[in-house]
């Protein structure tokens, strides 16, 4: 293999590897969300990303060999990346890790560690590929980094498209194929001989398709809803549908009917109608119900707390948010609502109910009373001009995950103060917002909702919110009603009759007497009543402070409705570990903390220790001060880049009306323009060698960041009703200058470093990789506690630190 000309960097192959690596990261998150639960997936993938940092440490030792055998090392790395994408996943599937048992069984920890190591390997090779380019082609650093970023931008778009087109298991094979095609591409770019061998690599790229399909199918945890359902005699999968929003699995269970009716009254006599189950990512059941021949067969739909509004007022226009399999729509039809708007974000779910299983579902989505809308719920409410007698939002999350507190990190804009204000704004006079949640003990979601509702009413100018709220509960679900207007005596009479005949408990209504709650589903204390009474009145702040869970209202700035954790109760809960205390732990938040601690510990082991050993073995040393500055610079820009990117994705989610668009447009936009910025940076540095070259880009970043903080929300709110193309274009225009400048500090730093102390380039790469991993976790933690504005401010702070620690200033030392 002849060594090639040094200054023709293999940009296409680097871009292809970066595209596959970014797509692989998102794919792994999808695969492990299917296999386990989303937040364990988040933890596993976050730690696996340390493969990037470990790559830098590895190359510190290897860099002297890079010059001699660059082509061989470069090609081998890409080939190993390709092979390990599939290989490591196949091995990881065999690791019997059960996150549910982790607090009971210390034996799960080594398995978790093994998962981290396995999944870090492909990222390690991908990172090596880019870093090798940076080490070898010192004069073309900006081009290589640009190729890396632009490749990643293409990868982020490609994975969204691929997940719509093929199943995750096939996507995995395609990414391995992409990796091997990168080998062929690199072979040609490096002008290796014989050139025809590239064809062999291209043919070899089909190797993943030799594996049986069953090997790459995600092995779903036996404790997830789908696995449990499949244990039931006769249950079988009748179809599967993949999209980036989730893997939908439709189950038929002819022998033992599904009978999904959460919150059903204990007085109900009817059995739920025949149903098909739709599981999202192996959990989060939604059902498609067969309405049967007569109205009577659906009488059970009148026996759940969510049926209450239909008994208080004549519902002419109903809006069902998150209509899923259509149970709430069926409930509205049962109550003869003449006009129903059903909003569902997942087009595939709508298609199942409307077309694929339309006959089974009684063609409810084709009925003239029903209008269906593919839209994100909050966006629909923000843009519709209609008013409704009822806006209904059921529990869209799975009970099992909700009860374990696994949604703590999921930002949701459905339950924020601003969201409830929008819902109230869309009500006709006397209309109701109906919000149903799973009951958790001690209460969390329901109380947070009532606090949110009270604040939202106050914000809309209501001075006595306690007159506009009703809360009832069964043993399993609660329903909160927010009325546009005062609750009347007639409504209270109807409410009492509704609850009495169904044995539902009154938890709150205006004028409730202390003897009324806690009659049918008895708690040791009337927690819901006590909470509601305090939260709708003057005692709200005191109650929020005294309550052991965080039930303060979520806002658009801190949209973490499911974050209930308070640090001060951790010791108490841990002391109750064996005595039934574990369900009190809010897992989602703790996973975030554990991820951060693990990332810090793993960074020391994988990145810093090897580098310290390396330092100890070297005779010629740069001054500690200089090295510290280098480390600070690359650490700061690693943190700053992701802080800014994550904050921007969040800021644009509401504006782009869909989290998928937000991630695709913002992430792609960021990476693409950062890539272009990187390519441009080489011109600047030639022109202004006498000054700190990052001064201008960082000044522009600071200016843009401050502009975002003060003006972004008003601008976005003003234009939220505009057409898709306008909103997407505006997003790109707003992101472009910021991202363009954010793409410069890294290549400028590396270029300077490779001129002065080339031995530190892998180190810089490692530290930057490490910072990227912990910044994702730190940014989320910051947003949970302080909001996204603080995340942007911190990003600007990190850029300021980068400005003063630019390695060029170390050269004179």
């Amino acid at each position: 293999m002849p060594e090639t000309k040094k200054y023709t960097p293999p940009c296409y192959s680097i871009a292809l590897v970066s595209a596959c690596a970014l797509a692989y990261e998102i794919l792994l998150l999808r695969l492990f969300s299917i296999i386990q639960w989303h937040h364990f997936a988040y933890m596993v993938i976050s730690i696996a990303m340390l493969g990037y940092g470990a790559s830098g440490a590895f190359l510190v030792f290897l860099q002297k060999h890079v010059e001699k055998k660059f082509s061989l090392i470069f090609l081998t790395n890409i080939a190993l990346f390709s092979m390990t994408t599939v290989g490591c996943f196949l091995i990881a599937q065999q690791v019997r890790f059960s996150p549910e048992e982790i607090l009971w069984d210390a034996g799960q920890l080594p398995r978790l560690l093994l998962l981290y190591l396995l999944l870090a390997i492909p990222f390690f090779f991908a990172a090596n590929t880019v870093a090798l380019g940076l080490i070898r082609y010192k004069k073309n650093i900006s081009r290589i980094y640009a190729a890396d970023l632009i490749g990643a931008a293409a990868g982020s778009l490609a994975i969204v498209a691929l997940l719509f087109l093929v199943f995750p298991s096939t996507t995995l094979k395609l990414l391995a194929t992409g990796g091997m095609l990168a080998v062929a591409c690199a072979w040609l770019e490096l002008k290796c001989a014989p050139r025809s061998l590239a064809l062999l690599f291209a043919l070899g790229s089909l190797f993943p398709f030799l594996f049986p399909e069953a090997w790459t199918q995600p092995a779903i945890s036996p404790y997830k809803g789908l696995s449990q359902q499949l244990q039931v005699s006769g249950s079988r999968i009748i179809s599967e549908h993949s999209s980036p929003l989730g893997l939908l699995t439709v189950i038929k269970s002819p022998v033992v009917p599904l009978r999904y009716a959460p919150g059903l009254s204990m007085n109900a006599t009817g059995e739920p109608s025949p149903q098909l189950a739709v599981f999202t990512d192996g959990d989060g059941i939604s059902v498609i119900t067969n309405p049967g021949a007569g109205r009577e067969t659906l009488s059970w739909l009148d026996q759940t707390p969510s049926a209450l509004p239909y008994h208080l007022a004549a519902i002419e226009k109903a809006l069902i948010l998150g209509s899923g399999g259509g149970m709430d729509v069926l409930q509205a039809l049962y109550h003869r609502a003449p006009s129903i708007d059903a909003v569902e974000m997942n087009r595939q779910m709508l298609d199942l109910v409307k077309n694929v299983y339309g006959d089974f579902a009684g063609n409810i989505y084709n009925r003239q009373e029903v209008d269906i809308h593919v839209a994100e719920a909050r966006a629909f409410v923000s843009t519709t001009g209609k008013r409704y007698d009822l806006i209904q939002l059921g529990p869209l999350d799975a009970f099992s995950a909700a009860s374990a507190g696994l949604y703590a990190l999921s930002e949701t804009y459905l339950y924020t103060v601003e969201a409830l204000e929008r819902y109230i704004d869309r009500l006709s006079a006397g209309g109701f917002v109906s919000l149903s949640r799973w009951i958790r003990m001690p209460p969390r979601d329901t109380l947070k909702l009532i606090a949110t509702a009270a604040v939202a009413l106050e914000n809309t100018g209501v001075s006595d919110p306690h007159n506009q709220l009703i809360l009832i509960r069964s043993w399993q679900t609660s329903t909160l009603l927010i009325k546009n207007g005062r609750v009347t005596a007639e409504e209270i009479a109807a409410l009492k009759k509704f609850c009495r005949t169904r044995s539902f408990d009154l938890a709150y209504y205006p004028g409730i007497h202390g003897t009324e709650p806690n009659r049918y589903n008895i708690l040791s204390e009337p927690f819901f009543y006590q909470g509601a009474l305090s939260l709708v009145g003057n005692g709200r702040q005191d109650f929020l402070d005294r309550y052991k869970f965080n039930i303060a209202p979520a806002t658009d700035e801190r949209p973490y409705f499911f974050h209930f954790f308070k640090w001060r109760i951790l010791p108490e809960i841990l002391s109750l570990r064996g005595r039934g205390g574990i369900p009190l732990l809010e897992w989602g938040y703790l996973i975030l903390i554990v991820t951060l601690l693990q990332a810090a510990a793993a960074s020391v082991v994988l990145i810093l220790l090897p580098l310290l050993f390396y330092r100890a073995g070297k005779k010629k040393q740069q001054s500690i001060h200089g090295k510290g500055k280098t480390l600070t610079y690359f650490f700061s820009i690693g943190l700053a880049f992701l802080f800014m990117e994550i904050a921007c994705i969040q800021k644009f989610i509401l504006f782009l009306h869909h989290p998928l668009y937000a991630v695709a447009v913002v992430l792609t936009g960021f990476l693409l323009f950062a890539g272009l910025g990187s390519a441009f940076s080489s011109h600047r540095i030639l022109a202004r060698q006498d000054r700190n070259p990052v001064a201008l880009p960082i000044t522009i970043i600071a200016f843009m960041g401050l502009l975002y903080i003060f003006f972004l929300s008003p601008v976005l709110n003003g234009l939220t009703g505009g057409p898709d193309i306008l909103r997407i274009s505006l997003t790109v225009i707003l992101i472009a200058p910021l991202a363009f400048c954010m793409g410069m500090p890294f290549p400028l730093g590396i270029t300077t470093l490779s001129d002065q102390t080339p031995g530190l380039v892998p180190w810089a790469w490692a530290v930057n990789g490490w910072a990227s991993v912990i910044s994702a976790v730190l940014a989320t933690l910051t947003a949970i506690h302080f909001g996204f504005t603080v995340v942007i401010l911190l990003a600007l702070g990190f850029y300021a630190i980068a400005l003063v620690s630019f390695p060029q200033t170390a050269s004179g030392e």
């Binding site: 007085n267 374990a404 009659r519 005595r579 039934g580 574990i582």
Partner: protein, 247 residues
Amino acid sequence: MDTRSRNILFLLLFPLLFFSSADHALADRYATARRNMVLEIEQDVRDTRRHIGRESLMQGVMVAMATVPRHEFVPAASRRLAYANRPLPIGHGQTISQPYIVALMTDLLQVDKNDRVLEIGAGSGYQAAILAELAGAVYTMEIIRPLGEKAGKKLYKLGYNNISLRIADGYYGWPEAAPFDAIIVTAAATHIPPPLLRQLKPGGRMVIPVGTRFMVQQLLLVEKNTAGEITSRQILPVRFVPFTGGH
């Protein structure tokens, strides 16, 4: 018996003696573990008395917990953990509940020697065995065939002749054996099946653990009074007050 014959006999019997004594040692170890488990449950009950409304569990329940060989109901691989106060996986995505929760649920049912008890979700068969120590007749149903068959064999081997097991959909209960004094529904349910409520005697009790396989969040105690009216009680199986101070 000559010396040679005696030696041969000794050689033949020695392993038996060895294994027999090993068996005894193992049995002793399990008995000790069981006693410790019972002590631990007693302590947990004292700690949670405010929420479960009792200082101690029924004597009969504790005797049953001290009698039934829990290790027989867990897979061989996790037998060493059989008496730890934790749930254990038993395959097919199912678990054997934490001993403390088993004891508490059994106590809530207030079973006596003349009672007929229905269990929906036999699982390993352990809960049925505990109930069989207390009740006149136990009817247990399991929907997952391999689990049901395994539990049936185990209960038969251990000599529980007052347990009837059926592999079937538990939603409709066991009408031929109804009405029941107590019903326990350990299989996940999104609602309480109306047929089970009908099969509960007036004055009868039903217990449903709510939560995930490894985390029981609360226990639902359903009571049917003598007039046939139904109420439920949601019991947090842990000593935890959600408010601090001033309450």
